[in-house]
């Protein structure tokens, strides 16, 4: 089934989405299937927000299909330091996003499909949605052993997780979204979702790790396009609408007024890191300097992503105590972030007497501190 896109469709969409009365008059009354043309995780999450806030779902439901370039998406109340390897993410330029729904951390790339089911709050029903997906998969390949677990996961061969679920409920609308592993890079997935940070204590929602498998491994003819099409077909059948997918551009303000502000908000540090529930770090590390090994103990409390309390225990006189307490004082109130810590540390050094030995020791301490972030 060929995906259609045209200006007419976009205008119809904006009419339908914004004025329910017009929607009833339009030819495509009833439920809607839309697909994003963007692979930007922030833009796509913004579309979910927009639909959640603006679309009247009394007489219709919406299925939103989207895929992202490599990104790690954490749940609303999670701690990114606990959930993934932030150093690796920065090195590989993988995006980090915090979604508004609950649940655990997932890795997205173009081999993963995201599906969002929008309904009114009364019609919120996750099992039904997942069963729809399973039905679509079985219709495509009857021999596939897929079923929905009681944790709202979809399992392949009774043991491999191919889909995880999360949901968001507002005052009148709700959405349930889930992933579907088609052909994701499992190696990157497992390495980024492993946190190297030790000594973290928090009440943030923890993720439950699971063994995963791609549908592609089971049957190489199952590409993302094939799967998207099959699920859209099943949705169309169950909702008595045409199998017609409307493409939307998440950057288009005329169709989705206010969307760019939503995208920007999702990208802010305050949202991605600042919404982390309060946590504490209590850890120690060894520093090798010349011929000796030094033990350093660090204790920090982090609230809203900023350091509230900081304590660094160093061997006595290894660094001037005044300078160390200056460092601790500067860190309090700053973001728990390698960039800020490096900047502050290097600035403090700049206003210090010039001494290569001091510089080397200071840099060593700072590099190790930054490794905690």
């Amino acid at each position: 089934m060929v995906l259609q896109s045209s200006l007419k469709n976009c205008l119809q969409l904006s009419c339908i989405l914004r004025t329910p009365k017009a929607g009833l008059r339009s030819t495509t009354s009833g439920s809607l299937i839309i697909q994003s043309i963007s692979n930007d995780v922030y833009q796509n999450l913004a579309v979910e927000d927009w639909i959640h806030d603006h679309v009247n779902l009394e007489n219709r439901q919406v299925l939103f299909l989207w895929r992202n370039s490599p990104a790690v998406v954490i749940g609303r109340h999670q701690n990114p330091w606990q959930e993934c390897n932030l150093r690796l993410l920065r090195q590989k330029s993988i995006q980090l996003a915090r979604r508004r729904s609950g649940g655990g951390t997932v890795y997205h790339d173009l081999g993963n499909i995201n599906l969002t089911f929008f309904t009114t709050r009364k019609k919120y029903e996750r099992m039904e949605n997942l069963k729809l997906i399973v039905k679509a998969l079985k219709a495509l390949r009857p021999q596939l052993d897929v079923h929905v677990s009681d944790r709202y996961d979809i399992l392949l061969d009774r043991q491999y997780k191919i889909s995880g679920t999360a949901a968001k409920l507002g005052r009148t609308t709700a959405y349930h979204h889930c992933t579907l592993l088609c052909n994701t890079d499992k190696f990157v997935l497992s390495s980024v979702l492993k946190s190297p940070y030790k000594g973290l204590k928090s009440n943030a929602t923890p993720s439950v790790p699971a063994s995963v498998k791609n549908l592609f491994e089971e049957d190489p003819s199952l590409t993302c396009e094939v799967l998207l099409d099959a699920i859209a077909e099943e949705y169309a059948t169950q909702h008595h609408i045409d199998h017609h997918i409307t493409l939307i551009n998440p950057a288009d303000e005329t169709v989705l007024p206010g969307i760019n502000n939503k995208t920007k908000e999702l990208q802010t540090w305050e949202w991605v890191y600042g919404k982390t529930p309060k946590f504490s770090i209590s850890t120690c590390f060894n520093m090798v300097y010349k011929d000796s090994v030094l033990d350093v103990k660090v204790d920090m409390d982090v609230k809203h992503g900023r350091i509230e309390v900081c304590n660094i225990d160093l061997p006595e006189q290894w660094l001037p105590p005044a300078l160390c307490s200056e460092l601790v004082k500067s860190l309090v109130g700053s973001k728990f972030c390698p960039n800020e810590t490096t900047t502050l540390a290097t600035t403090l050094l700049g206003v210090c007497p010039q001494d290569d030995e001091l510089h080397n020791r200071w840099n060593l301490l700072c590099e190790n501190m930054v490794m905690l972030m």
């Binding site: 009364k122 968001k168 929602t205 529930p277 800020e340 490096t342 900047t343 600035t347 206003v351």
Partner: protein, 479 residues
């Protein structure tokens, strides 16, 4: 005198009232407030009803949730539909919104506690004058006198708007029926009122108090520029007072700003003097055009900075005092052997100054390559301590953003800094007295007057200038 207030309130299964009818007793001193009662909440007399707002059904048979975030605290006032808290249940995150206008009097749970469906979540004191009834339009229209209509129901429909929006409309004498609502169910939002006002006065109002002024970076889109342009031409006389509902915001100084505060406070101790000049870059521009593709083939982006940096290093070989450091007590000057030339970079978070180490032994190409590395690390926020420390001299290319002459501030423990303005095409006279098109850039130097005198700075600048105006001369002195 006794006033009896009887309110009819919509009954709902999830609300439990403490009292459904009540009597307010006013004493004589409160009498003067009575005629204003309708539009203002008075704190002198508190006869609000405390309502226990219960956690409503989540669906799927869920009975308990965890409270993850409170958006309000005790004593805050809320409007209907404001978010109260975020709760989580088994991978579902639920936003609980208020059903009432009022003041939060009690939160029944702390963070991370389990909350139960059907049990009280918060206690809200409902404002006596407003009650829970669906919103009504209480706005006066401009041509009508104030005695007429204080309540309006338009064609039997109640205009939907929150109390905050209605207040804004009322303060600006706007009829809600004339405003197009763009919210859910055609609800009128604050943006709609502002847009309506903008149409009335012909000026574009700031979209929200939180909007920041974005500097005109070349990569930014035209959208942010438009409101600024329009804001500059406001000669249209305004007949109605425009209400700007912004508030001052105080934040602690942290992070990058804190670092700047420290550096600049230390820099204050240095007595700065400035020296400025203009450089004719016509020949350099041509040279760079020729060399750019060669560098591209080798995978490096070649800007003007590598030339400026190399020329500075050649100059420092002749005037090493500019690459020195003065100790705290001003007793000793240390002449640094390495030319670690810092390049000021403007990143999203703020100003950072990584440096290129040992420029004295690097070729222009190597400097360009190193700059590329520092720039990509800088924009990704991944510069390490080594790249950010050990600088001995700094160049700041503020000209990429704009400006001609500036007064740069020396970054301790250095003793000199140069700021480069933008390259402009200007008419100049050549040796034969003819006017030609020249590519002119301005440079502004600052130096520590305790150990550097004007003559030294001038001679260094002249040497640097001669290398750049006649790039071939750099060949003679390259090591």
């Amino acid at each position: 005198m006794i006033f009896v207030c009887i309110h009819r309130v919509r009954s709902c299964s999830s609300i439990r009232f403490i009292k459904s009818k009540y009597v307010c007793v006013f004493d004589k001193s409160a009498l003067k407030f009575s005629h204003q009662q309708r539009l203002f909440r008075t704190s002198a007399v508190s006869c609000g009803q405390i309502v226990q707002f219960k956690l409503s059904d989540i669906g799927e048979g869920i009975t308990e949730v965890t409270v993850k975030e409170w958006y309000i605290k005790e004593g805050d006032s809320v409007s209907q539909f404001d978010s109260i808290c975020e709760v989580q249940s088994d991978k579902a995150s639920v936003t609980i919104t208020s059903r009432y206008d009022g003041i939060i009097r009690k939160l029944h749970y702390n963070l991370d506690e389990i909350a139960y469906v059907g049990k009280p979540l918060v206690d809200i004191e409902i404002d006596a004058s407003k009650g829970v009834a669906p919103e009504e339009d209480v706005v006066e229209t401009p041509p009508m006198s104030h005695e007429e209509h204080t309540h309006q129901e338009i064609k039997g429909h109640k205009t939907l708007a929150t109390p905050a929006v209605r207040r804004l409309a009322m303060e600006n004498n706007i009829k809600l029926s004339e405003v197009v609502g763009t919210g859910k169910d055609n609800r009128i939002l604050k943006e709609d009122i502002l847009n309506y006002l903008a149409k009335q006065t012909g000026a574009i109002l700031p979209p929200s108090p939180k909007a920041e002024i974005i500097p005109p970076l070349p990569k930014s889109e035209t959208l942010p520029a438009a409101p600024k342009d329009k804001a500059r031409k406001i000669p249209v006389p305004v007949s109605r007072p425009i209400v700007f509902s912004g508030k001052d915001k105080t934040e602690p100084v942290t992070g990058f700003q804190k670092a700047m505060v420290k550096t600049m406070s230390a820099a204050l101790k240095i007595p700065h003097f400035g020296y400025c000049d203009e450089i004719d870059l016509t020949q350099l521009v041509q040279l760079r055009e020729e060399l750019k593709p060669l560098a591209q083939i080798r995978g490096v982006k070649l800007s003007f900075m590598p030339f400026f940096i190399k020329a500075a290093s050649l100059g420092l070989l002749q005037y090493p005092i500019l690459n020195a450091s003065l100790d705290e007590s001003c007793q000793n000057v240390t002449y640094k052997a390495s030319h670690n030339i810092g390049v000021a970079m403007d990143t999203e978070q703020g100003l950072i100054v990584p440096n290129v180490k040992n420029v004295q032994v690097l070729s222009v190409f190597e400097i360009a390559s190193e700059l590329n590395r520092l720039q990509s690390l800088g924009s990704a926020g991944q510069l390490g301590t080594n790249d950010l420390t050990g600088g001995t001299f700094t160049l700041s290319n503020i000209g990429t953003i704009g400006g001609t002459y500036t007064k740069p501030v020396i970054l301790p423990p250095e003793v000199a800094i140069g700021a480069l303005g933008k390259i402009q095409v200007l008419p100049r006279f050549n040796g034969k007295g003819e006017v030609f098109k020249a590519q002119i850039m301005n440079v502004s130097w600052s130096a520590d007057h305790r150990i550097i005198d004007g003559a030294t700075m001038a001679r260094f600048s002249n040497l640097w200038k001669s290398y750049l105006e006649n790039p071939a001369s750099m060949l003679l002195d390259l090591k």
